[in-house]
């Protein structure tokens, strides 16, 4: 009798557990996975939006990507942002977190707040702010001219290299503080005594950083790494609002190009756009998986 009641309770608890996570799980299935399946089906079709028909051959939208110069350019740009911006941002964020984690430092709260602030601005706003800052007659140029670093205005958004640089600077500006908060939190979970021990051993700042901080933060690095890879491969707003992909597609991202195919130019090619986005999805998944494997501490 008693046993039976205990079993009933357990079953009840189990059911409650499923009950708690059911709404969220269902919503994710309906709002993310189902549309993705639909997008996959669409990716096998061609033609104008209202008259989609099965592609012939069925994977035509996928095979034609290889010949799509603009998509290849967009892919190159996106990976360039990934390779340059994400490492700089994460190292800078860890460094800042490390400095702010020092108990002897004054104004810690103030520094933390100020450095985090950029990510409170709306994407629409911050693109506008950066666009005006980096304009030909904008503040950055007059500032650099005033310092004597440059003689003539630099056409930041008009040359492919500098335009890419502005996108990277904008991304660094907005997201470094955000990632720093996660690292700071990670550091606060590490016993302060570990550092004191390192100090007693006479380890230099850089040594402590590379040999103690970075390894201990590994789980946080994996998490922020996945978030950043995901964010960068899906980069959209900066490309659209800051440079509009230009000059000459030098800064266009994959998501921006997908958008151009889906909605940007009046004649929507949903089939092809869906195929492209499916490829992006697979890329993100693969990179996230590699990141998890590399970061896995259980060898």
């Amino acid at each position: 009798m008693k046993k039976k009641q205990g079993f009933g309770l357990l079953a009840k608890q189990k059911a409650a557990g499923w009950g708690f996570l059911a709404p969220a799980s269902l919503l994710i299935f309906i709002m993310s996975f189902y549309p993705m399946v639909k997008a996959f089906i669409t990716s096998l079709q061609t033609g104008p939006a209202a008259k989609l028909a099965w592609a012939e051959p069925i994977f035509k939208n996928y095979t034609r990507m290889v010949n799509d110069k603009v998509f290849l350019t967009a892919m190159g740009n996106t990976f360039l942002y990934l390779l340059i911006q994400v490492p700089i941002m994460l190292i800078l964020a860890i460094l800042l977190a490390q400095l702010l984690n020092n108990k002897d430092l004054k104004f810690r709260g103030l520094f933390r707040t100020l450095i985090f602030l950029p990510c409170a601005t709306a994407l629409v706003s911050y693109s506008l702010i950066f666009k005006t800052l980096f304009a030909n007659e904008g503040l950055i140029n007059s500032f650099l001219r005033g310092l004597g670093i440059i003689q003539e205005n630099v056409n930041w958004l008009g040359q492919s290299d500098t335009a890419k640089a502005v996108i990277i600077i904008a991304l660094l500006w907005r997201w470094t503080g955000y990632n720093m908060v996660f690292f700071l939190a990670g550091l606060q979970n590490i016993e302060y005594s570990v550092y004191e021990a390192a100090n007693i051993d006479g380890a230099s700042g850089w040594k402590t950083f590379w040999h103690i901080t970075v390894p201990l933060l590994r789980p946080v690095i994996v998490m922020t790494g996945i978030m950043s890879i995901n964010g960068t491969l899906q980069l959209f707003d900066e490309s659209v609002n800051l440079t509009n992909g230009g000059p000459a597609n030098a800064t266009i991202t994959m998501s921006h190009y997908i958008y151009n195919n889906a909605l940007g130019q009046g004649v929507a090619n949903f089939g092809y756009a869906s195929a492209l986005s499916f490829i992006v999805f697979i890329m993100v998944a693969i990179l996230a998986f590699i990141n998890l494997k590399v970061g896995d501490t259980r060898d």
Binding site: L9, G17, A39, A120, F281, V284
Partner: protein
């Protein structure tokens, strides 16, 4: 006395060693704040002065405000944004915290596997789901309502993960004790978990509120008309005319940025604590 004299130099010695840190952090803070400073000054200048990159405060604030109020439904858009972001924050926190709680405290193999699958949703590109989602929301007759605004963001893998990680701090023993006291499973969640996880809720609220306040692409797809538009939509509308008034526009940008900045300032202590719990 002896103690005092020996401590004082020690402190200043430490501070001296920290000088490079102070310099570096000050530079980083200035870089972080400068564009926001520019936003403030630009809001007080005329269109021409903004275009010419004037760096100081001007005298055109009142004029910009008058133009903004006359030409745009500023307060309506602010109200809409507040309403949507508020509903979104409440609903998302409830749904995701329930899930995070369920995944961590009732975990078994099946649930862990499901969680791994849900994480995949993080990688679904937004552009890919835009049209299918629009079709779905339109079939549910939700277009132009707050439900259309909130529904894709109600459950996100990131938020669930946040609550799941933080739930590790929740003592299982107290759960058992509560059960013996006759509290139901739902009761435990609302009466015990909820109050204990305040800082997690605060941190999540900051993130959800910011994301939903700043959302642009989805709202502009499902919300049409002056009465339902949000602040980012209003700004985008102002920035794309044939002739743009930049002073007025930057004032709009300022209005759009202030609420998220204020929310962060008010909740920042809890925010830091909540994030700390999430990366344990």
């Amino acid at each position: 006395m002896t103690e005092r004299t020996s401590r004082k130099p020690a402190v200043s010695h430490i501070q001296r060693k920290l000088i490079p840190s102070y310099i570096f952090l000050t530079i980083m803070s200035l870089i972080s704040v400068f564009p926001l400073y520019w936003m403030f000054t630009a809001a007080t200048n005329t269109s021409l002065e903004v275009a010419q990159g004037k760096i100081w405060f001007g005298s055109n604030l009142a004029e910009n405000y008058r133009n903004l109020i006359d030409g745009q439904n500023l307060w309506q858009a602010m109200g809409n944004s507040f309403f949507y972001a508020f509903v979104q924050t409440l609903a998302t926190l409830l749904i995701c915290s329930l899930a995070g709680y369920g995944f961590e405290l009732y975990h078994d193999k099946g649930k862990d596997k499901l969680f791994a699958v849900l994480l995949l949703a993080m990688m679904v590109p937004q552009v890919a789901t835009l049209i299918p989602l629009f079709t779905m929301v339109s079939k549910m007759k939700m277009l132009n309502t707050v439900w259309a605004f909130i529904i894709p963001g109600l459950a996100t893998p990131f938020m669930i993960m946040m609550f799941r990680q933080n739930s590790r701090n929740f003592p299982i023993d107290t759960m058992e004790a509560a059960r013996i006291d006759g509290l139901s499973e739902v009761g435990i969640f609302f009466r015990m978990y909820f109050p204990m996880m305040k800082s997690t809720y605060a941190a999540s609220a900051v993130i959800v509120f910011m994301n939903s306040w700043n959302a642009y692409m989805w709202p502009r797809t499902v919300m049409k008309g002056n009465t339902v538009q949000t602040m980012p939509m209003l700004i985008a509308n102002m920035s794309n005319g044939y002739a743009v008034d930049y002073g007025m526009l930057m004032l709009g940008v300022l209005f759009c940025s202030l609420p998220t900045i204020i929310v962060f300032f008010v909740l920042q202590k809890q925010f830091a604590e909540g994030i700390t719990g999430s990366v344990k």
